[in-house]
Amino acid sequence: MNRWLSRDRLNRAVLALAAPLLAIVVSLVLTTLVLLLGGYSPSKTISVMVEAADRPRTQTQILNTATLYYLSAVAVAIGFRMNLFNIGVDGQYRLAALFAAAVGGAVSLPAPLHVFVTLLTAVLVGAMWAGIAAVLKVTRGVSEVISTIMLNFIATGLIAWLLNVDRLAVPVAGSNNIGTKPIPPSGQVPGISLISGSSVKVYGLIVLAIAVGIGYHIFLGRTRLGFDLRATGLSEHAAVASGVNVKRMVLLAMLLSGAVAGLVGMPELLGASFSYALNFPAGLGFTGIAIALIGRNRAVGMAVAALFWGFLDSAGNALDINRIPKEIVIILQGTIVLAVVIAYELVRRYRIAAEQRRVSRELATVPAAEEVPV
């Protein structure tokens, strides 16, 4: 009996690792094929990317992009754990960043308070925008998938309207870009010189991203509310039977997800751009979905995935200089996502089948043993 159990455990560990590895190998093979078809050298592509990753500057970039990706992934994952699909992280963080930038640029407060007020604005706006989808779902039964997609576009339109010299924006000196009034030094978060030899600093708010990750882990694994949330995600009926108010949980999960989404743009806003301009990074919400999927909604898994994504993005930029289209990286990323989810699904099915086999084997042996003495 014990022998079976330990072997089963080993199997589980192997399977858990096998899925993402298999998926990455499959994606690499497919991407290599695409490169070969396009007449580019796969080995050169890899060597260019690896070389790029060796530079301190690229390493800083990887950490910085990973910080944003990670926050976005956590926001998505909070929904995922409850079977809620928050596609709206994209709109939530952009709208939150715009308002936070406007507030941060307008007020003048002592340093820690200034940062706090800006972050609070972002969290509230993010939660509010996600809250619309939550209320629609709870009161009217509107699918959060559809409503958050629509809210993304509404956010885009609202931002385009608000980011105007008549409203929240001022012209950016020396360009025809426009942005919000820059946040004064008291509201900025200084960077950290984590990697020597790089002129760019790592976002100070990387600390915030780590804290959010730890908080996420503790919330889901160690609190009553987190348990209820996971339970509702696993089986709504079971959760209802044990006294969970599902509507309240939907509202809560969506608000939390939106609140974290509000933070996504903050490391960039308070650490580098200090203003929300037309060129503020967009599309981070969708990256977050991909990373949450690859990281299996686990705090550590998503961190690894975010760093990997950051590596692909930052190192991919070096490809264009070598006359290899850097878009190959997006193909690789898309293939990885699809391959990973397929691999996890196959592993899940395999596990269920294996479990059934094990149980039926044990059932077959037990009665036989009992029958002998009779």
């Binding site: 396009g38 339109g157 898309g334």
Partner: protein
């Protein structure tokens, strides 16, 4: 009021009761004439004649076609029980493949066909992931959007960059698609439109805008709507396909090969979205550009929901959203403002209708909304164009929130199905 007898209170007269679901086309027609009348009235009040000008309608049809094709794609897929968020990704594939095909063979029709194939490949991938491997349908859709974006941008950089007149993010000009000859038959309509007679001129303008210079592909796209209706609702094939979206277990027990139908449906869904993308590249812009779809796949999804998962309804939704899109692109700030008045009148009519039907709360709610809209209209001079950008999306949210009890999506839509389970 009686349900029999003639209704003579005008084109916006109550539509047949919601129980009779077979009257899609009649509702659409009534809606069209009702809208036209309202718009004509608004034109008279505001003196802005661009609301139903032939130019506006022409642009609206052009904008509606890709949205409608994506919506049709969504319909095929969701009727077979597979939610397709990846419409946008398949449409993106359609833009590049369509442009490439048109250039390679120097023929817009082959281009459209290649675009269809490109989109169908995306659909096939979605089918493999969701039907065979049972991956979450939303997840697969998101992955396909990512993949579609990557593949087209890569191919564009790899192929179009070296062509004369092309670049890394855009193709050279494409061969033009022919238009449907009207042989001067529509010219009298133009004269009639210029006469500025209430309603008559507007109708003439609509017809003139609709038929003059209509691309051949537009006609194909429009015909695909009744064709889809016929296939899905009037053939055994369509019945079986829809049964997979309603109750796959029951369908399987009657000998329907659910996997097969889902595969076919999702692939066709991709093909239609691909055609929408090809239309964008070949007819609308005459060029491939990165990011050309600009979320039209999602608007297609919205149009399908707006149309209650029915062909006529989604055609109406696509027309409405296309109209808004065209107005935004033509940049008539005053016209948009006038549209607010039309919206207020529409809401008021709706309120009266709901009152007739005996639902007080809905009547009061839309009455208040009508007054509110009117007050906004009266107190402002212009409406920001950015608001038109998300008008389709906010309309969809409102429809979902207000009329969710009238909407009926396929019963098993979005649920994974595995043979022998459940």
């Amino acid at each position: 009021m009686s349900t029999s007898g003639l209704i003579v209170s005008g084109p916006e007269a109550p539509a047949p009761s919601a129980r009779v679901r077979r009257t899609d086309w009649r509702v659409l027609l009534i809606g069209f004439f009702g809208l036209l009348t309202v718009l004509s009235v608004v034109e008279v009040i505001t003196g802005d004649n661009s609301l139903v000008s032939s130019g506006q309608i022409n642009a609206a049809v052009l904008a509606a076609v890709p949205i409608g094709l994506a919506a049709l794609g969504g319909l095929w897929s969701e009727r077979a029980g597979v939610v397709n968020i990846g419409l946008e990704g398949m449409m993106i594939l359609g833009t590049w493949f369509g442009a490439w095909g048109a250039l390679q063979f120097d023929n817009p029709w082959i281009g459209a066909l290649v675009g269809v194939i490109g989109g169908a490949l995306g659909g096939l991938l979605h089918a493999v992931a969701t039907v065979t491997f049972g991956v979450d349908q939303i997840v697969s859709g998101v992955a396909i959007i990512l993949l579609g974006t990557g593949i087209t941008q890569f191919l564009s950089a790899a192929v179009f960059a070296d062509m004369p007149g092309g670049g890394e993010i855009q193709s050279p000009p494409l061969p033009r698609m022919g238009t449907i000859p009207t042989g001067g038959l529509t010219d009298p309509l133009l004269t009639l439109e210029r006469k500025d007679i209430f309603l008559v001129s507007d109708l003439a303008g609509v017809l003139y805008g609709l038929f003059t210079g209509m691309s051949q592909l537009t006609l194909v796209a429009i015909l695909l709507v009744p064709f889809t209706w016929w296939v899905l609702w009037r053939t055994a094939f369509g019945l079986r396909l829809r049964s997979c979206g309603e109750h796959p277990v029951a369908a399987e027990s009657l000998g329907v090969n659910v996997y097969y139908y889902k595969y076919v449906a999702v692939t066709i869904s991709g093909a239609l979205s691909g055609l929408g993308g090809a239309f964008l590249a070949i007819v609308m812009n005459n060029q491939y550009r990165d990011g050309q779809t600009a979320g039209r796949g999602f608007i297609g999804l919205a149009a399908m929901i707006f149309g209650n998962w029915r062909p006529a309804g989604l055609a109406g939704g696509a027309g409405l959203f296309g109209y808004m899109d065209a107005m935004r692109l033509r940049g008539g700030s005053a016209a948009v403002h006038a549209l607010l008045l039309a919206f207020a009148i529409g809401l008021a009519i709706f309120a009266i209708w709901r009152y007739y039907k005996g639902s007080r709360t809905a009547a009061i709610a839309s009455g208040v909304a009508a007054i509110g809209t009117y007050l906004v209209y009266a107190s402002t001079d212009t409406v920001p164009q950015q608001f038109l950008y998300f008008a389709p999306h906010i309309t969809t949210l409102i429809v979902l929130a207000m009329f969710s009890q009238h909407l009926r999506m396929p019963a098993a839509d979005g649920r994974p199905y595995r043979r022998g389970e459940e």
